[in-house]
Every structure is written in structure tokens, then in C-alpha cells.
């Protein structure tokens, strides 16, 4: 094995790589870097950037019930929920304020997993750089709310699964409600 | 020859004298070594100037100059080795701080 043969073999590896980089397609070893702002690599569906809240139809009937589970679960503790109360102080199942500090959020997606009401999901929007860390990167409720259609087109599979599940729950509830209303008609009165 | 011999000799004499002044005045051994290099170079300039002006053998002057240059390199090597050894033992290379033969 003469002195330079290791070096020469290494050199030919890079030469081959250099020469074929002009012909190979990106996926089989070609140039996979793209010119970022103009061309973009399509994001995979399960790409997690920052959490957002989903509403159906209008931003008023949002799914979040301010149950505070996600705030408790969040490892860096960057979610802050205040439960709304109606005029005489009884708590409502809606958040009065829901802020996420995006500069602290580490995109782990725990909130999405633990949310029982399918209201918080991970977004694909990662270009949120801003001048001021405190005012602009702390997202309040209005900035966090996004429609279900948006959720469907960025993560179609998950969104459809969630919608199907909600629809079934809807029917089951309607069925149950219907049954609860019907028994007064045909069931013999229970012996008291 | 465009430069008259006299001018070059005066130039070499000036260099020589500056070298001598340097060796007499400097406290630092390496400073003295630098001045000695000056003196050797002044001698070289004279050698080349004379070899050029007499028509005997033009190459002799330059041969001697080459020998002087190589010897100067050798002296510089050994001189600096001594300086380093001195610095390691005495922590100083100022001549007037080690003027005792035995201490």
C-alpha cells in the first residue's frame, strides 16, 4: 500500500462527487440545497413550528375551554391561560386571555398531545422573526386563533382525523340527547 | 561603472562605523549581534565594490562575499544558541548585568 494511495482514493471520491453534482437529481445525492427565499423545500406534515388555537367558523366559538391542562404540561411554561367569567362571577368554559410566549416556546408539541378538546395544534409558520422580543413575540389570543380550514390545508391528515372524531362525538351526543329526550314516551314508568 | 568606487567605499565605511558604534553602545547581546551583522555587511560591500572595479577576476570578490555571508549565518546561529542558553540560566541578556566571570 504505497504512501499516497489513501489520499488518492479520497481525492477521487470528491472528484466523482464534484463531477456528478452537475447531473444528479436532488433526491439521489444531487444538490439538495435550494435558494431559500425564492424556492422552498415543501415542509413535511408533522413539521412543528409554534402552537396555535383552532376555531370553527367564527373566532368566537373556539374550541379551547381554558382547562389549563396545556399550561400545566408545557415544559418551558410559556402558556398563560385566564378563564373567562360571566358578569356575576361564575367561570365560563372559554378563555378570557390565552397568551403563548413564542420566544420561550421550544416547539415540543406537548400541548397538542395533552389537549382534550383538540383546540391547540402545531403550526408550519416559522418565519416570525421580529425586532422586539417582548411585545411582538408574546402572541395573545387574537393572534393565536386560526380557522379550521387553515388547519386542514396545512395538516390535512391530522385535521381530517380530528374533524371525523369531532363529528362522531357530535352524532353520539345528539343520539344520546335524542335518547334522553325520547324515553318519556314508550318506556313503562319505573316502579317508584 | 555608473557609481564611482569612492562613493561606495564611503558608504561601506559609514556602515562599518555605525556597526562599531552599535557594538560599543548596546547593552543587549542580541543588539550587539545585530551590529556585528552590520559590520560584516559593510565588509561585503567593499569586497564586491573592489572586485567590480579591478579587471583581474571579477568573480573573486563575490565568492568571498558568499563565504562571508555563510560564515555570518553560522556565527549568528551559534551566537543565538549561546544567548538562549544564557537567558535560560541567568534570566537576563544585558551585558552589564553579567560582567563577572565566576559567580
Amino acid at each position: 500500500m504505497i504512501f499516497g494511495s489513501g489520499i488518492i482514493r479520497g481525492m477521487f471520491v470528491t472528484l466523482k462527487n464534484f463531477a456528478t453534482s452537475y447531473f444528479r437529481k436532488p433526491d439521489e445525492g444531487g444538490l439538495f440545497t435550494v435558494e431559500y427565499p425564492e424556492k422552498r423545500i415543501p415542509l413535511k406534515e408533522r413539521f412543528r413550528s409554534f402552537p396555535f388555537l383552532v376555531y370553527d367558523g367564527t373566532p368566537e366559538n373556539l374550541r379551547c375551554t381554558a382547562c389549563d391542562i396545556c399550561a400545566r404540561e408545557c415544559p418551558p411554561k410559556c402558556i398563560y391561560v385566564v378563564r373567562a367569567a360571566d358578569q356575576d362571577g361564575r367561570p365560563l368554559r372559554r378563555p378570557a386571555a390565552f397568551t403563548i410566549d413564542y420566544s420561550v416556546c421550544m416547539n415540543c408539541g406537548m400541548c397538542e398531545e395533552v389537549c382534550p378538546f383538540d383546540s391547540i395544534f402545531m403550526d408550519h409558520e416559522f418565519e416570525i422573526a421580529s425586532q422586539d422580543r417582548y411585545r411582538e413575540l408574546v402572541y395573545t389570543l387574537t393572534k393565536l386563533l386560526k380557522s379550521n380550514e387553515y388547519f386542514n390545508n396545512i395538516r390535512p391528515r391530522d385535521a381530517q382525523a380530528v374533524d371525523k372524531k369531532r363529528r362522531e362525538a357530535e352524532e353520539k351526543k345528539k343520539l344520546a340527547a335524542a335518547q334522553a329526550a325520547k324515553p318519556k314516551l314508550d318506556e313503562p314508568p319505573k316502579p317508584v | 561603472m555608473i557609481i564611482p568606487l569612492g562613493h561606495i567605499l564611503i558608504f561601506a565605511a559609514a556602515l562599518f562605523v555605525i556597526g562599531i558604534y552599535g557594538t560599543l553602545v548596546r547593552r543587549n547581546i542580541i543588539g550587539i549581534l545585530l551590529s556585528i551583522e552590520l559590520i560584516l555587511n559593510a565588509a561585503n560591500v567593499n569586497l564586491v565594490a573592489f572586485s567590480r572595479s579591478t579587471s583581474l577576476e571579477p568573480a573573486t570578490g563575490q565568492i568571498f562575499a558568499i563565504f562571508v555571508i555563510t560564515l555570518a549565518a553560522a556565527t549568528a546561529v551559534v551566537g543565538l544558541a549561546i544567548v538562549l542558553a544564557l537567558f535560560r540560566t541567568r534570566k537576563t541578556i544585558l551585558t552589564d548585568e553579567m560582567d563577572l566571570l565566576k559567580w
Partner: protein, 390 residues
């Protein structure tokens, strides 16, 4: 073809005739010197700028990325953007630094890089000044840059730059010796030191096709890469170990000068390698200066190729290669060229290959880096010393 080949020579003569009409004749000759100087001063920075771009493109392609292509059509304006950035950046002089040394170092490091161009034959009749001690001039001038590196490292009063400076000078000195010795065979065969005559001597056949020529070329090229502190030998500017070697404390225009000196000496040294071993501007069809540029850029391409492939040498491997491999091989090479010069016909090839081959093999054997074959593992023993968890 003759016109294309002598394009620049005719252009210069045209300009001089224009001047000769209304200027006294000695000014015309001064003008001829000034024209070649100005030509070099335009050519050198231009090559430097576009070598930086070429390097980033080539190394990028090797690593499956495109390299700069935002500024200008294919990134062609990138060097200008770099230049402007370098010029506008603030030039910080460290507080403890020695202002004289810190300022003079970049100036003195660019000087030898440009001075070498005076001796390079760019084409037929296109040497700036035909010194009859051409090669000695090149070696002498390229040894001045060690002083500049000392000034840079000592002047910036910073441990990293001093370390880098010491390493650079040690490397440049130990690679200058084999470089000078690898040039000696060419001088012996061409019987002259002047670069033009060396190219004439190669009109029969390039020196690189002879065994001693090939060995000499490889030694010269490796030492040239080391002399410019490039790719496998770039210990002094090793970003990982010592921040940026001797030019850590430099920014703005001074750093640009260091950067320029490195790339100009890359071109100058590969131009010399072409002149000495690859027949300079000799070549069948294309005009002479195009041949010269093609060969020089091919060698520079190889340097960039090195950069894209080879990892950095350790300091002891670096010194070991110079003193224990290149130097003995260069000495043997001088002996072989003597043998080649005086032996007739086929004996030339048999004899020289017979000497060079085995000596190459012997030196590789001697330089086998010591790696113990079976590594002895001593596992932790407890008191009654059977191995824990064996």
C-alpha cells in the same frame, strides 16, 4: 494565430509607439516598464478576487451545495461585494498592540507576493523583466514573507496570533528547504536560472514527463501548497485550534491585504510550478498566454480540490513530512538528474526509475507512523485483581 498569440505584446507596442510620437525616448522606455507594472497590478488583484469565488464554488460543489450565486449572475459580483465589505469594515487595532508592527505587517506581506510576478513568463515575450537570476529572485523574495508574519504575530500582542505566527514560520522554513532543492534539478538541466530560458529548455519535452521532473514537480507543488498555508497544511490558520493564526487581530482592509497576499501567492507559486515543470506557455494550438493561464488554473484547481478533501495535518506530521520525506527525496532527485544527464538512451529511464522507485518506497517505510498493532486494554481491576465485569 500569431496575432492572437502576441495580442498583449502588440497592444503594448502600439501604446509605446503612440507615446514615442511626442515624448522623449527615455520616457518611452520608462513608460514600457510602467505599462507592464500596471498590467501586473491589475492582473494580480483581479485573479485574487476571482480565485476566492472559484474556490468557494469548487469546494461548495464538492460538498453538494451551490456556492455563492446571489450577488451577480453566477455569483460573479461576489468578490466585489466581499471587497466592499472588507473595505468598509471597521479596522480595530488592539490597545496593547505595537502600532508600527501591526500596521506594517500586511503591507510587507503583500510586497513579496506581487514582486514574484516580475519574473513569471505569462506568454511568449510577456515576462515583465527577464532577470538572469529568475528562480533565485523568486526564492529570495518569497522568503521575505516570513518576516512579515513574524511582525503580524508579534505586533498584535495576542497569544493566539503569536502561536499561529510561530507555527507558520516553522512550517514555511521547513518547507522552503525541499522547495529550493526540488528546483535544483530543473536548473541543472536547463543550465540557467532565468525563467524564459527554462521554458526554452522545455521546448523538446516538458520536464514533468521525466522521472526526476515528476518527483521534482510533486515536491515543489506540495511545498508550494505548504508555503501559502493552504488546505492540508493550514495549521497556522486552523480555526478550530488557534482562532485565525497570525491574522486574528486584523480586520477590515488589513485582513483583506492578508487574504490578498495568500491568494496572489497561490497564483504566483502555481505559475512558477507551471514554468518550471509543465513547460510554461508552451502548447500546440492555443495562444501562449492562454496555455499558461490554463495550466496555472488547473494547478490552482488541484489546490482547491485538496481543500475540499484532505483533513488538516497535525504539526508533527507536517514537520515529519517536510524533513523526513520531502527533503531526502529532493536530495535523491538531484542525484537522479545527474544520473539522467550523463547516461545514454534507455539507461536514462532504467537508472533513474531504479533509483527513484525504491527510495520512494524506503522513505514511505521509514515514515510509517507508529500505530501499535494490537492495542493493549488494561481494564480496571479490583483488589484481588481480576478484571471488573470481565
Amino acid at each position: 494565430m500569431e496575432y492572437l498569440d502576441q495580442l498583449f505584446v502588440f497592444a503594448k507596442r502600439l501604446m509605446l509607439d503612440l507615446l514615442a510620437r511626442f515624448l522623449p525616448d527615455w520616457i518611452v522606455l520608462v513608460a514600457s516598464m510602467v505599462i507592464s507594472i500596471v498590467a501586473i497590478l491589475i492582473f494580480a488583484p483581479l485573479t485574487m478576487m476571482y480565485l476566492t469565488l472559484l474556490e468557494r464554488k469548487v469546494v461548495g460543489r464538492i460538498q453538494n451545495r451551490i456556492g455563492p450565486n446571489r450577488v451577480g449572475k453566477f455569483g460573479l459580483l461576489q468578490p466585489i461585494a466581499d471587497g466592499i465589505k472588507m473595505l468598509t469594515k471597521e479596522d480595530i487595532v488592539p490597545f496593547q498592540a505595537d502600532p508600527v508592527l501591526h500596521f506594517l505587517a500586511p503591507v510587507i506581506i503583500v510586497m513579496p507576493a506581487l514582486l514574484i510576478f516580475a519574473v513569471i513568463p505569462f506568454g511568449r515575450g510577456m515576462t515583465a523583466v527577464d532577470l538572469n537570476i529568475g528562480i533565485l529572485y523568486f526564492i529570495a523574495v518569497s522568503s521575505i514573507s516570513t518576516i512579515a508574519i513574524f511582525m503580524a504575530s508579534w505586533g498584535s500582542r495576542n497569544k493566539f496570533s503569536l502561536l499561529g505566527g510561530m507555527r507558520t514560520v516553522a512550517q514555511m522554513i521547513s518547507y522552503e528547504v525541499p522547495m529550493v532543492l526540488s528546483v535544483v534539478p530543473v536548473i541543472l538541466v536547463a543550465e540557467t536560472l532565468s525563467t524564459n530560458a527554462i521554458i526554452e529548455a522545455q521546448s523538446a519535452g516538458w520536464f514533468v514527463w521525466t522521472p526526476w521532473g515528476l518527483a521534482g514537480f510533486l515536491i515543489f507543488f506540495l511545498c508550494a501548497v505548504a508555503e501559502c498555508n493552504r488546505s492540508p497544511f493550514d495549521i497556522p490558520e486552523a480555526e478550530s485550534e488557534i482562532v485565525a493564526g497570525f491574522h486574528t487581530e486584523y480586520s477590515g482592509i488589513k485582513f483583506a491585504l492578508f487574504y490578498m497576499a495568500e491568494f496572489i501567492s497561490v497564483f504566483a507559486v502555481s505559475a512558477l510550478a507551471v514554468t518550471l515543470f509543465l513547460g510554461g506557455w508552451k502548447g500546440p494550438w492555443l495562444p501562449s498566454w492562454l496555455w499558461f493561464l490554463l495550466k496555472a488554473y488547473a494547478l490552482i484547481g488541484v489546490m482547491f480540490w485538496f481543500r475540499g478533501t484532505l483533513p488538516r495535518f497535525r504539526v508533527d506530521q507536517l514537520m515529519g513530512l517536510a524533513w523526513k520525506f520531502l527533503l531526502p527525496l529532493a536530495l535523491i532527485n538531484i542525484f537522479v538528474v545527474g544520473f539522467w544527464y550523463f547516461s545514454p538512451g534507455l539507461w536514462k529511464w532504467v537508472g533513474s526509475l531504479g533509483i527513484l522507485g525504491p527510495s520512494f518506497w524506503i522513505f514511505t517505510k521509514l515514515n510509517r507512523s507508529y500505530v501499535p498493532e494490537n492495542r493493549v486494554y488494561r481494564l480496571a481491576e479490583d483488589e484481588n485483581n481480576e478484571t471488573v465485569g470481565a
